[in-house]
Symmetry: C2
Subunit: 429 residues, 2 copies
């Protein structure tokens, strides 16, 4: 098996939780692994909210794809996949390094783990004026905007109303991202920014706006109660049934006509499929089954992509993470679920996988029924800071799942430093 | 003196070495200190070269102006000074927070410490295609460009010549910045990038291009010899008498016609005065003396700005750092010199300063003759990595002069981590 031409070629599309977990764990004596992604790094997404308000350094929350294993044992192609040639067994990509340069990467097995993109529901002005919370650059942008709001509000020639408008921080979306982010933002504003700008304290406000009647709608009532109690205790207002109709440079309008001025608007209102997924699952040339509701790719419980008839799996094509769902399951689009699918796929199949991939019918797999059970139990990663104990428990968890020793040391350092010295939100990153 | 309206108002223009040192040290019981600068942070410039190649984290090398003292005891106005009203005793600024909004800051004493800008000598293409080494954003840009060069050179459809061109790293300028940077760059390429991209190693090259017949022209022959020996030992070529005539996107042309392809071109070829300094010292409305050669503001040896006739000092106006020189001295434009001037000004005058400022003739000052002596002895901060001992000596020095405990801990951590795990050049900052 030393001859690399004889190894089974696994191509992974995407550098998020699902794909990177698999790339990390696959047995490289058996598989020749190539990651194809327009993004050259993995992002520790559950820590984005913390990084955005300076609780952790931005450099701690990402890991270059080339460094996810000890040396460059896996190949990385920085490119965006445009289509999949199922007959010729290759993916057709456009390199992000030089425009118009197409790259064709052949595969024996393909893993689709391309994630999703922020859903703006076609609402005008959101792309132009809001900031999101998906990428490292977003966290950086949020830091800058918070700092800029305070700097602009300190200018002398402003009225009180202008200061209030500049210092209103609006978070749109009552899902886990919005809820977690506003809790972190509140800590940052009350613990740090108020100390740096004590004279502006009385003008600062924040609020969560959600179109629903409750926050965290798909999660347990216990968790909702817990979060709402935390919000009440900390004076974080939630505006229910508040659908955004349009966003302008410094104000947004809700359905019903109410306009709200803001200094920063963070859009956390859901996930939409990326273009590739739409192309694969929609229209007359679709090759994969479409989950009508979430628009995700449907797989069987072995994570094999189903053909549009939802009956037969496509040979050697797997999907996991936010871009995919198991038929009939409704697995949440969270980092945990993607990670667990990646772990399951690699653990169950490493060593045995090749035989399975070659066969049409998957043989009996010891761990197979456990995947769905595990996914149902997947811990929900919400992280409002509920005091010092929770602080250390959650942080311990992140420390364990962080993907390299170096990053673990950095993360630990940045928590300790920020705990002692205050957040680093003013720092240039 | 508790009444703040009665404090002597010191306005410092600039957030670099000279200005920030003074802002840190001035006695706030006596002085009401305001820093006016378009840049909201101090940059540890001698560490820029290290940060640019990932030896230290980028967040370690800057410090927000608001955090240079324990709380917000000094005022900060984020604005660019356009002119100085000597009669009305105020500086006229344009806020960087909102365009066209002018700010007038009154002073009793004014410190001009606005630094300089990169000198491109009017050579076409430099501003568009080169990268500089003056700001934090430059260090970030260099990291990205190094990484991009290697990623582009790894693409499959390239010829060997194209790979060589993409992996030629050109540093322009034989002064301390260029010399220090190319030594750091060489370490980074040989120690880290060659490990990440072993198959590209044979295509990588770098060179220093200087218009002079020697490097480090204004420094001691001993230091020049030392640096050249290091360059020879490490195979760093220096191209003497190589004046750049024009720069294009992927190649530059020397006087004489030779063209050289490059992947990244770093411009370290000297300092030019910023617009404010030119306005203050040039033309019929000049208020300050001009050093004909360096175009800097001339001061007496008490750092008081001289009127255009070079005879009498302007009342209550001081200048230090790269934008200023002492008449007849030719103080080098280095971080050390600026820092020493700042130290001297604050140490000699704290407490006593007010009386001095009020008087026209400076009284006898115990430390006064020592400034020029000290400046002549100012240690030169060049830092090629000459083995492990030098490594720790220099790093110890930077650790001491770094401006906050938190930054010191961060810096130490980033050196230790990078020493153990390799440089972080691929990291997103």
């Amino acid at each position: 098996m030393a001859d690399s031409t004889r190894k089974h070629r696994v191509v992974i599309l995407g550098s998020g939780w699902g794909g990177i977990r698999l790339a990390q764990d696959l047995n490289l004596n058996v598989f020749d692994v190539t990651v194809v992604s327009p993004r050259d790094h993995f992002v520790m997404t559950p820590l984005l909210a913390s990084a955005a308000v300076g609780t952790v350094d931005i450099s701690c929350i990402s890991q270059p794809v080339q460094r996810i294993r000890w040396s460059n044992e896996i190949h990385f192609v920085e490119a965006s996949c445009e289509s999949i040639n199922m007959v010729g067994k290759e993916v057709d990509c456009v390199s992000t390094m030089s425009s118009n340069s197409s790259v064709h990467v052949p595969f024996d097995s393909l893993i689709i783990a391309v994630g999703g993109k922020s859903n703006v529901f076609g609402i005008p002005g959101v792309r132009e004026h809001a900031v999101f919370l998906k990428e490292v650059s977003d966290a950086n942008e949020i830091r800058k905007r918070i700092s800029t709001c305070f700097k602009r509000a300190s200018q002398e020639n402003l009225t009180d109303d202008e200061r209030k408008n500049l210092l209103h921080f609006a978070v749109i979306g009552g899902g886990p991202t919005g809820v977690e982010f506003i809790a972190e933002l509140n800590d940052c504003l009350t613990e740090d920014m108020n100390k740096l700008y004590p004279h502006l304290q009385k003008f600062v406000s924040l609020a969560l706006y959600t179109s629903g009647a409750s926050i965290l709608q798909s999660f347990s009532p216990k968790l909702v109660h817990f979060a709402m109690k935390h919000f009440q205790k900390n004076g974080i207002p939630v505006s229910f049934q508040s659908s955004v109709e349009s966003v302008e440079e410094s104000k947004f309008t809700l359905k019903g006509g109410r306009s709200i001025h803001y200094g920063m608007l963070v859009w956390c209102a859901g996930v939409a499929p990326v273009e590739l997924v739409t192309r694969l699952t929609d229209g007359p040339h679709a090759i994969a089954a479409n989950d009508k509701k979430s628009k995700r790719i449907l797989t069987d419980e072995y994570l094999r992509v189903l053909a549009p008839d939802r009956m037969s799996p496509l040979e050697g094509v797997y999907a996991l993470g936010d871009c995919a769902d198991i038929l009939g399951q409704g697995v949440p689009g969270t980092a945990q679920a993607a990670n667990q699918k990646g772990v399951w796929l690699s653990k169950s199949y490493v060593g045995k996988w090749r035989a399975i991939l070659d066969a049409n019918d998957p043989p009996e797999i010891p761990a197979s029924p456990s995947l769905i059970k595990r996914l149902q139990k997947a811990p929900f990663y919400i992280l409002p800071s509920f005091g010092i104990l929770t602080f250390f428990i959650w942080r311990g968890f992140y420390l364990i799942i962080t993907k390299s020793l170096k990053k673990q040391v950095q993360l630990l350092k940045s928590w300790v430093l920020n705990f002692v010295f205050g957040r680093d939100i003013l720092d240039i990153q």
